[in-house]
Amino acid sequence: GESVGLHLPTLSVQEGDNSIINCAYSNSASDYFIWYKQESGKGPQFIIDIRSNMDKRQGQRVTVLLNKTVKHLSLQIAATQPGDSAVYFCAETPADKLIFGTGTRLQVFP
Protein backbone atom coordinates (compact mmCIF):
# COMPACT_ATOMS: atom_id res chain seq x y z
CA GLY A 1 0.00 0.00 0.00
CA GLU A 2 0.97 3.64 0.08
CA SER A 3 3.54 4.75 2.59
CA VAL A 4 2.20 6.90 5.39
CA GLY A 5 3.43 8.19 8.72
CA LEU A 6 6.14 10.49 9.96
CA HIS A 7 8.22 8.13 12.04
CA LEU A 8 10.47 5.75 10.24
CA PRO A 9 11.38 2.43 11.83
CA THR A 10 15.05 2.53 12.78
CA LEU A 11 17.62 -0.23 12.81
CA SER A 12 20.79 0.46 14.76
CA VAL A 13 23.79 -1.78 14.14
CA GLN A 14 27.41 -1.77 15.09
CA GLU A 15 29.99 -1.27 12.40
CA GLY A 16 31.09 -4.61 11.04
CA ASP A 17 27.90 -6.44 11.95
CA ASN A 18 25.40 -7.71 9.41
CA SER A 19 22.15 -5.79 8.90
CA ILE A 20 18.79 -7.19 7.91
CA ILE A 21 16.06 -4.83 6.75
CA ASN A 22 12.62 -6.26 6.23
CA CYS A 23 9.72 -5.24 4.06
CA ALA A 24 6.19 -6.55 3.69
CA TYR A 25 4.75 -5.85 0.28
CA SER A 26 1.09 -5.59 -0.47
CA ASN A 27 0.26 -6.89 -3.92
CA SER A 28 0.51 -10.55 -4.86
CA ALA A 29 0.58 -9.51 -8.53
CA SER A 30 3.92 -7.73 -8.08
CA ASP A 31 6.60 -9.40 -10.15
CA TYR A 32 9.56 -7.10 -9.71
CA PHE A 33 11.08 -5.66 -6.55
CA ILE A 34 13.77 -3.10 -5.92
CA TRP A 35 15.70 -1.89 -2.91
CA TYR A 36 16.73 1.75 -2.85
CA LYS A 37 19.11 3.56 -0.52
CA GLN A 38 18.45 7.21 0.18
CA GLU A 39 20.99 9.36 1.97
CA SER A 40 19.95 12.63 3.53
CA GLY A 41 19.24 15.30 0.92
CA LYS A 42 19.76 12.97 -2.03
CA GLY A 43 17.63 10.98 -4.42
CA PRO A 44 17.02 7.24 -3.98
CA GLN A 45 19.89 5.14 -5.26
CA PHE A 46 19.32 1.71 -6.78
CA ILE A 47 20.92 -1.07 -4.73
CA ILE A 48 19.61 -4.38 -5.97
CA ASP A 49 16.54 -5.87 -7.59
CA ILE A 50 14.87 -9.25 -7.84
CA ARG A 51 12.19 -10.73 -10.05
CA SER A 52 9.40 -12.93 -8.81
CA ASN A 53 10.84 -16.07 -10.42
CA MET A 54 13.75 -15.91 -7.98
CA ASP A 55 13.95 -16.15 -4.21
CA LYS A 56 17.48 -14.87 -3.67
CA ARG A 57 19.87 -12.57 -5.40
CA GLN A 58 23.31 -11.43 -4.31
CA GLY A 59 25.30 -8.34 -5.04
CA GLN A 60 28.39 -6.87 -3.53
CA ARG A 61 27.86 -7.09 0.24
CA VAL A 62 24.09 -7.14 -0.26
CA THR A 63 21.61 -9.97 -0.62
CA VAL A 64 17.89 -9.72 -1.30
CA LEU A 65 15.54 -12.51 -0.28
CA LEU A 66 12.00 -12.84 -1.58
CA ASN A 67 9.31 -14.96 0.04
CA LYS A 68 6.23 -14.77 -2.15
CA THR A 69 4.19 -17.02 0.11
CA VAL A 70 4.11 -14.44 2.87
CA LYS A 71 4.82 -11.41 0.64
CA HIS A 72 8.04 -10.57 2.37
CA LEU A 73 11.24 -9.04 1.11
CA SER A 74 14.48 -8.56 2.99
CA LEU A 75 17.77 -6.83 2.38
CA GLN A 76 20.88 -8.17 4.04
CA ILE A 77 23.99 -6.02 4.25
CA ALA A 78 27.17 -7.79 5.21
CA ALA A 79 29.85 -6.09 7.31
CA THR A 80 27.86 -2.88 7.69
CA GLN A 81 29.90 0.29 7.28
CA PRO A 82 29.26 3.91 8.35
CA GLY A 83 28.62 4.76 4.70
CA ASP A 84 25.62 2.41 4.77
CA SER A 85 23.78 4.80 7.07
CA ALA A 86 20.70 5.91 5.16
CA VAL A 87 17.00 5.26 4.71
CA TYR A 88 16.24 2.09 2.79
CA PHE A 89 13.06 1.67 0.77
CA CYS A 90 11.70 -1.45 -0.81
CA ALA A 91 9.52 -0.99 -3.87
CA GLU A 92 7.22 -3.33 -5.76
CA THR A 93 5.76 -3.11 -9.26
CA PRO A 94 2.31 -4.67 -9.55
CA ALA A 95 1.55 -2.52 -12.59
CA ASP A 96 3.10 0.39 -14.44
CA LYS A 97 4.42 2.17 -11.40
CA LEU A 98 6.53 1.70 -8.31
CA ILE A 99 4.88 1.35 -4.93
CA PHE A 100 7.27 2.21 -2.14
CA GLY A 101 7.32 0.69 1.31
CA THR A 102 7.50 2.82 4.43
CA GLY A 103 11.27 2.91 4.63
CA THR A 104 13.71 1.92 7.35
CA ARG A 105 16.42 4.15 8.73
CA LEU A 106 19.72 2.32 9.20
CA GLN A 107 22.07 3.82 11.77
CA VAL A 108 25.60 2.48 12.03
CA PHE A 109 27.54 3.19 15.20
CA PRO A 110 31.23 2.53 15.85
Binding site: D31, G41, G43, Q45, F46, F89, G101, G103
Partner: protein
Protein backbone atom coordinates in the same frame (compact mmCIF):
# COMPACT_ATOMS: atom_id res chain seq x y z
CA UNK B 1 28.28 9.19 -17.36
CA UNK B 2 24.65 8.67 -18.24
CA UNK B 3 22.47 10.16 -15.57
CA UNK B 4 19.39 12.00 -14.41
CA UNK B 5 20.01 15.68 -13.72
CA UNK B 6 17.77 18.04 -11.81
CA UNK B 7 17.99 21.81 -11.65
CA UNK B 8 18.05 23.68 -9.46
CA UNK B 9 19.01 21.58 -6.46
CA UNK B 10 17.44 24.11 -4.11
CA UNK B 11 14.57 26.40 -5.00
CA UNK B 12 12.98 29.06 -2.82
CA UNK B 13 9.73 30.64 -3.89
CA UNK B 14 7.05 32.79 -2.37
CA UNK B 15 3.57 31.65 -1.54
CA UNK B 16 1.54 31.77 -4.75
CA UNK B 17 4.48 32.54 -7.05
CA UNK B 18 4.76 30.05 -9.94
CA UNK B 19 7.86 27.91 -10.05
CA UNK B 20 9.31 25.47 -12.57
CA UNK B 21 11.63 22.58 -11.79
CA UNK B 22 13.56 20.85 -14.52
CA UNK B 23 14.85 17.37 -15.18
CA UNK B 24 17.04 16.05 -17.95
CA UNK B 25 18.33 12.58 -18.72
CA UNK B 26 21.08 11.17 -20.85
CA UNK B 27 19.81 7.59 -20.56
CA UNK B 28 17.46 7.92 -23.55
CA UNK B 29 14.72 6.31 -21.47
CA UNK B 30 11.13 6.32 -22.64
CA UNK B 31 9.53 6.99 -19.28
CA UNK B 32 10.02 9.99 -17.02
CA UNK B 33 8.40 10.39 -13.60
CA UNK B 34 7.90 13.17 -11.08
CA UNK B 35 7.64 12.35 -7.40
CA UNK B 36 7.02 14.47 -4.34
CA UNK B 37 8.74 13.43 -1.13
CA UNK B 38 8.09 14.94 2.26
CA UNK B 39 10.24 14.43 5.31
CA UNK B 40 10.46 10.84 6.56
CA UNK B 41 8.01 9.63 3.91
CA UNK B 42 8.36 7.55 0.78
CA UNK B 43 8.27 9.26 -2.60
CA UNK B 44 4.75 9.87 -3.91
CA UNK B 45 4.17 9.66 -7.65
CA UNK B 46 2.64 12.80 -9.16
CA UNK B 47 2.62 11.90 -12.86
CA UNK B 48 4.66 10.27 -15.58
CA UNK B 49 5.24 10.31 -19.31
CA UNK B 50 5.73 7.41 -21.64
CA UNK B 51 7.35 9.26 -24.49
CA UNK B 52 4.81 12.06 -24.98
CA UNK B 53 1.87 10.26 -23.41
CA UNK B 54 1.02 11.93 -20.13
CA UNK B 55 -0.35 9.99 -17.16
CA UNK B 56 -1.64 11.85 -14.14
CA UNK B 57 -2.15 10.23 -10.75
CA UNK B 58 -5.74 10.62 -9.57
CA UNK B 59 -4.80 12.47 -6.40
CA UNK B 60 -2.29 14.88 -7.93
CA UNK B 61 -3.56 18.43 -7.35
CA UNK B 62 -4.41 20.57 -10.38
CA UNK B 63 -1.82 23.02 -9.11
CA UNK B 64 0.84 20.67 -10.49
CA UNK B 65 1.47 20.48 -14.22
CA UNK B 66 4.15 18.89 -16.34
CA UNK B 67 5.69 19.26 -19.76
CA UNK B 68 7.94 17.00 -21.75
CA UNK B 69 9.09 18.83 -24.87
CA UNK B 70 11.47 16.05 -25.96
CA UNK B 71 12.91 12.73 -24.81
CA UNK B 72 15.59 14.31 -22.68
CA UNK B 73 13.73 16.99 -20.75
CA UNK B 74 10.76 17.09 -18.43
CA UNK B 75 9.46 20.03 -16.38
CA UNK B 76 7.34 20.30 -13.27
CA UNK B 77 5.30 23.48 -13.00
CA UNK B 78 3.68 24.48 -9.72
CA UNK B 79 1.23 27.20 -10.60
CA UNK B 80 0.50 28.61 -7.16
CA UNK B 81 2.72 27.04 -4.52
CA UNK B 82 1.30 26.72 -1.06
CA UNK B 83 3.14 26.06 2.17
CA UNK B 84 2.11 22.41 1.91
CA UNK B 85 3.99 22.06 -1.36
CA UNK B 86 7.34 22.46 0.33
CA UNK B 87 9.06 19.14 -0.28
CA UNK B 88 11.78 17.34 -2.19
CA UNK B 89 10.81 16.81 -5.83
CA UNK B 90 12.37 13.82 -7.48
CA UNK B 91 12.61 13.01 -11.16
CA UNK B 92 13.12 9.43 -12.27
CA UNK B 93 13.44 7.60 -15.56
CA UNK B 94 13.03 4.05 -16.77
CA UNK B 95 13.54 2.39 -20.11
CA UNK B 96 10.05 0.98 -20.09
CA UNK B 97 7.20 0.52 -17.69
CA UNK B 98 6.68 -2.73 -15.98
CA UNK B 99 9.48 -4.57 -14.29
CA UNK B 100 12.02 -1.98 -15.26
CA UNK B 101 14.33 -0.17 -12.87
CA UNK B 102 13.67 3.49 -12.17
CA UNK B 103 16.72 5.70 -11.82
CA UNK B 104 16.37 8.82 -9.73
CA UNK B 105 17.90 12.24 -9.95
CA UNK B 106 19.32 14.04 -6.92
CA UNK B 107 16.10 15.96 -6.31
CA UNK B 108 15.14 19.61 -5.95
CA UNK B 109 14.39 20.87 -2.46
CA UNK B 110 11.54 23.38 -2.68
CA UNK B 111 10.99 25.91 0.07
CA UNK B 112 7.85 28.08 0.09
CA UNK B 113 7.98 31.29 2.10
Amino acid sequence: DAMVIQNPRYQVTQFGKPVTLSCSQTLNHNVMYWYQQKSSQAPKLLFHYYDKDFNNEADTPDNFQSRRPNTSFCFLDIRSPGLGDAAMYLCATSRDYRADTQYFGPGTRLTVL
